[in-house]
C-alpha cells in the first residue's frame, strides 16, 4: 500500500487559517501538479471550438486566450459584461448554466469559471476569469457581475461570494446565501479548515494502522476548532443576520418601518407596520408587511424560508433564505477520494440518488477516458428512468398537498413509488442511498427474480397507475382552477433565469440534456421530449405526467434490449478502489427529474478531487421563484414553489 499519501500536516487545527499553505494533496512534488498549477510545466491548453475562435477574433488575442485544459481565459476581467453580452446576443448562448470558482492556492489566484449554454443544445462554452488571491481572510478584488445580462447568475454569484469571498461588483443584492451573515471565513478557500478538521485528504492514517477509536470531540477539543474574527467578544455579541435582508426589502415602500443600523450587532428591526400611523392619517391606509414563511416547511418541501412582502394577501416581493441544510458538501468532496464521493452524491437530492450518482460518475469517466460496459449502460438507463418516474410521482403527490388535497393523492402515488424503491432495495441494498454506480460500471447485476419484479412494474402496474393518476387529477376542476395561469414565466425569461428541467419544458423550450448534449446510450431508444406551452403550474404538472410515460417507454425498450447483453458483465476493467484521475478539468451533466445536474471537477492527478462543484438544478431553479410569485396570492406562492419541485438537500448542499 505504498500509494498512501504521507501527510506532513499536524493534526491539531488550532491556529486560525493562515496562509500557511496546507498543500492540497500534501505529496512531495510529484509529476504534473494541479490543473493550472506551475507555469513552468507545460500545461496543455484547450483547443478552441469555432465559437471560441469567433470570440477571440472579436475581442483580440490579448483579451481572450486559450485556458489550460478547457475553455477560454478572459485576461481583462473588467470587460466581462461586454463579453457576456456578446455571447448572449451574437453567439446565442442564452443562459449561464454553471458559475463557480476554484482556488489555485499555489499559483496565488482564484479562477471564476462560467459555463454558457445554448437552449438549442450542444456543449457549453467555458469562460474563465482570474483574480489574485488576497491576504488572509480579506475579500479579493471584485469581478463584474453579469446578473443584468443573465438573471440566472444571481444566486450562483452569491454562492461564489459566500464560499470564496470574491465580491461581484454591480450585483443587486450581494449577501451570503448558504451561510449566515457574520460568518467568519470563506469555507471553500483551500486554507480554510472545518471544525473537526483531521487531515486534508482521506484516508486518514489514524484509522489504519494506528487504529484506536476516538470520538471526534476527543480528538479535536471544543474551543480549539472554531475560528473567531479578531477582537471578537462573545459577551457583547448580538447577532442580527437578517438586518441586511429586511433592509433590502424595505426600500421604496412608504409606511413600512424598518429601523436598522447597518451592521450585524445593534440593529433593531420592526417588521410590522407602525400602528399609530393609522390613527394619525385621515384616510384608511394599508401597510405592507413582511411575513416569514418557514423555515419549518412552508410547503412540506424541507427547511426553506421564504420572506414575503405582502400587500393584503398579494405578494409584492419575495426573498429566500437558504442554507438550513448546508453541510459544505463540496469541501467534504475535496477531502474524499474519488470513490468516496459516490455515496455522498446520493445525499444531494435524496429523492433521486441514482441520477446524482450518474452525473458524478459520468464526469469522472470523462476525465479518466473510460466507458462502462454494454450491460452496465442498460442498467444505468433502467435505474435512471425508474428514478424519474418515482420522483415525478413524488412531485405530483406533494404538489397536490400544496394545493390542499392533503395526503390522499400523495399517498396513492407514494405507494407506487415505494414499489420502485422496493426494486432498488432488492438490487442495490438501499431504498434511497443506493450507491449503485461505479466508475466504468455498476455494482450489481439483476437476478431473475428482480428482473421479473421490474417487468411486472414496467409493463403492468405503472402504466395502469399513471392512467389512474390522470383520471384523478387532470380534469379535476379544482386543480384546474387553482393552477391554470398561476406562476407564469415565459420561455425567454425562463431561459435567462437558467431554469432547467420539466419547468423549462412546460414553458415551451424543448431542452433536455438527454437530447441536447447526449450521454449514455439514450440514442438507442425511441422516445420524445414532451413540450407544453402554458408555462404555468398546470402545465408543469402535465409535463411530468407526459415525461413519466416517455420514461416508461424507455424502461420497456431497455428491458427488451438488455436481454442481448451478457449477464454479469457490469464492470469495465478491473474493479479498483484507489483511482487516480489524470490532471485536468471537466464539466459533465445529466438530466435528473429536477433539471440539469452538472459536476465541475478539477483533478491534480491525485487520489482526491482538487475541486468538486455541483451545479444543482434545485438551487438554480429557485432563482426564478420571485418573478413567478410576485403578483399572486400567498396561497399560490406555496403552490408555485411546489411546482418547481425542489429538494433542499441539493439546494443547500
Amino acid at each position: 500500500m505504498a500509494e498512501e499519501t504521507p501527510r506532513s500536516e499536524a493534526q491539531a487545527p488550532s491556529a486560525p487559517p493562515s496562509a500557511a499553505k496546507p498543500a492540497p494533496a500534501a505529496k512531495p512534488a510529484a509529476a504534473p501538479k494541479a490543473a493550472g498549477h506551475g507555469a513552468a510545466k507545460a500545461v496543455p491548453l484547450a483547443t478552441l471550438t469555432p465559437e471560441m475562435q469567433q470570440l477571440q477574433q472579436h475581442f483580440g488575442e490579448n483579451v481572450i486566450a486559450p485556458a489550460p485544459y478547457v475553455g477560454v481565459l478572459l485576461q481583462d476581467k473588467s470587460r466581462l459584461p461586454e463579453v457576456a453580452a456578446y455571447l448572449r446576443d451574437e453567439l446565442k448562448y442564452d443562459s449561464v448554466t454553471n458559475l463557480t470558482a476554484v482556488d489555485y492556492i499555489k499559483d496565488g489566484y482564484f479562477e471564476v469559471v462560467y459555463h454558457f449554454q445554448r437552449s438549442t443544445g450542444g456543449e457549453p462554452l467555458t469562460l474563465k476569469v482570474r483574480v489574485p488571491r488576497p491576504q488572509g481572510n480579506d475579500l479579493s478584488e471584485p469581478v463584474p457581475s453579469i446578473t443584468s445580462i443573465y438573471a440566472g447568475a444571481d444566486f450562483q454569484e452569491r454562492e461564489v461570494y459566500d464560499m470564496y469571498g470574491i465580491p461581484f461588483s454591480g450585483h443587486p443584492d450581494l449577501r451570503r446565501i448558504l451561510l449566515w451573515e457574520g460568518f467568519y471565513g470563506w469555507p471553500l478557500r483551500k486554507d480554510w479548515r472545518e471544525a473537526y478538521y483531521e487531515g486534508d485528504t482521506k484516508p486518514f492514517d489514524s484509522r489504519w494502522p494506528g487504529g484506536h477509536h476516538q470520538l471526534a470531540e476527543e480528538r479535536v477539543p471544543w474551543a480549539d476548532n472554531v475560528n473567531y474574527p479578531p477582537g471578537f467578544d462573545p459577551l457583547n455579541f448580538h447577532a442580527n443576520p437578517d438586518a441586511g435582508l429586511y433592509d433590502s426589502m424595505a426600500e421604496g415602500v412608504p409606511g413600512l418601518k424598518v429601523a436598522t443600523k447597518n451592521g450585524h450587532s445593534e440593529s433593531e428591526t420592526t417588521v410590522l407596520g407602525n400602528g399609530q400611523a393609522l390613527a394619525e392619517d385621515e384616510e384608511l391606509r394599508t401597510d405592507q408587511i413582511i411575513v416569514n414563511m418557514g423555515p419549518q416547511h412552508p410547503s412540506t418541501h424541507g427547511v426553506l424560508r421564504m420572506v414575503v412582502k405582502l400587500d393584503g394577501e398579494t405578494v409584492t416581493d419575495l426573498k429566500l433564505v437558504l442554507g438550513y441544510l448546508h453541510r459544505n458538501h463540496e469541501k467534504i468532496g475535496e477531502r474524499n477520494t474519488w470513490l468516496h464521493n459516490i455515496p455522498y452524491t446520493d445525499r444531494l437530492d435524496y429523492i433521486v440518488g441514482m441520477a446524482n450518482e450518474w452525473g458524478y460518475v459520468l464526469t469522472v469517466e470523462k476525465m479518466m477516458g473510460i466507458k462502462p460496459t454494454e450491460r452496465a449502460e442498460y442498467l444505468r438507463v433502467l435505474m435512471a428512468e425508474l428514478t424519474r418516474i418515482q420522483s415525478h410521482f413524488w412531485a405530483i403527490g406533494f404538489l397536490l398537498n400544496d394545493l390542499g388535497a392533503f395526503y390522499t393523492p400523495a399517498l396513492y402515488f407514494i405507494t407506487e413509488r415505494d414499489l420502485i424503491l422496493d426494486f432498488f432495495e432488492s438490487v442495490t441494498g438501499s431504498r434511497l442511498m443506493c450507491n449503485y454506480f461505479r466508475f466504468g460500471g455498476v455494482s450489481r447485476d439483476l437476478t431473475e427474480a428482480q428482473l421479473a419484479q421490474v417487468k411486472e412494474l414496467a409493463f403492468e402496474r405503472i402504466p395502469r397507475k399513471i392512467d389512474e393518476l390522470e383520471e384523478l387529477l387532470t380534469d379535476n376542476e379544482i386543480v384546474k382552477a387553482r393552477t391554470i395561469g398561476v406562476g407564469y414565466l415565459p420561455a425567454d425569461r425562463s431561459i435567462n433565469y437558467s431554469l432547467t428541467g420539466p419547468c423549462l419544458r412546460a414553458a415551451g423550450v424543448p431542452y433536455d440534456i438527454r437530447r441536447a448534449d447526449p450521454y449514455g446510450i439514450y440514442d438507442r431508444f425511441d422516445f420524445e421530449i414532451p413540450v407544453l406551452y402554458g408555462a404555468d403550474v398546470y402545465d408543469r404538472y402535465r409535463i411530468r405526467v407526459l415525461e413519466m410515460r416517455e420514461s416508461l417507454k424507455i424502461v420497456q425498450q431497455c428491458l427488451q434490449q438488455m436481454e442481448q447483453t451478457k449477464w454479469g458483465d457490469i464492470q469495465a476493467g478491473k474493479k479498483a478502489y484507489n483511482h487516480r484521475v489524470p490532471a485536468g478539468q471537466a464539466y459533465a451533466r445529466v438530466e435528473t427529474p429536477k433539471g440539469e445536474l452538472g459536476f465541475y471537477l478539477v483533478s491534480d492527478g491525485g487520489q482526491n478531487p482538487y475541486r468538486y462543484h455541483i451545479r444543482s438544478s434545485s438551487f438554480i431553479n429557485l432563482t426564478s421563484l420571485k418573478e413567478m410569485v410576485v403578483g399572486h396570492k400567498v396561497a399560490d406562492a406555496v403552490v408555485i414553489l411546489g411546482s418547481l419541485d425542489i429538494v433542499l438537500g441539493e439546494v443547500d448542499r
Partner: protein, 224 residues
Amino acid sequence: MALLGTGILKGLGVTLRHFINTYAEDLKYLLNKSAAAQPRPLRRQSPKNKGLVTVEYPKERLPLPENFRYVPFLVFDTEKQEEKCTSCGICAKVCPPQCIWIVRTEDPVTKRPVPQPKEFYIDTTICMNCGYCAEFCPFDAIKMDHDYELSYYPEEQPHMRLVYDKAKLLKPDTYHASIHPLDWQRELADRAAEEAKKKAAAEAKAKAEATKPAAPAQPPTGTA
C-alpha cells in the same frame, strides 16, 4: 371555465375504488386458502397487490432482500475457528466517512505484522451503510448486516454503545450464510475453484518435478 364537476366526480370514483379494493383484496385472501398461506407482509409488498400496502410494524415485518445493507459485521470462520479478517486495512481506506479503526497485531518477537486484527472498531453512529467495506474486502471477512434496530435510550449512553468493538462485531459464518444465501453460494464456489486451481498447480508441479529429476532441481537445493 364552467365548473360542471365531472372531473371531481371522476376523481372521487378513483378514491372509492381504492376504498373498496382494500376490503376486496383481504376478502379474496381469506376465502382462498392457498393464497392465505402466503405471509401478509410478503403479499402486501407484491406489485400485484391492489389493496392495503401497510403492515403492522413491529408485530409484522417486511421481508428484507438479501442485498439489504446495514452496519457491517466481521465474519468468524466456524470451520477453522478463526477470524477471517487479516487486518489489511482496505475497508478502512475505502470507508467514505472513515468510521473503521483497525489495530494490527504484531509478533512479539519479530515485530512483524501478523494477519489478525488486534482491535477492530466500527463507529456505527458515523457509518453511512454504503457497503464499500464488504464490496472491496478481498477475504470476504466483512459483510453488511440485516439488523436495523440499533436504538438506545439516552441514559444508556448510546454514543459509547454504538461504537462496536471486535467482540460485538464478530458473527459466525453460519449467520452470514443464513442471511446471504446467494453470496454464500458464490463464496463456496470461489473457494472450491481456488482449491481446485491450487491442487491442479500442485499436481502440475509434482508432475514437472517427476518428469525432470536431478538437473533443474539442483540450484535450489544447492543454495539451501
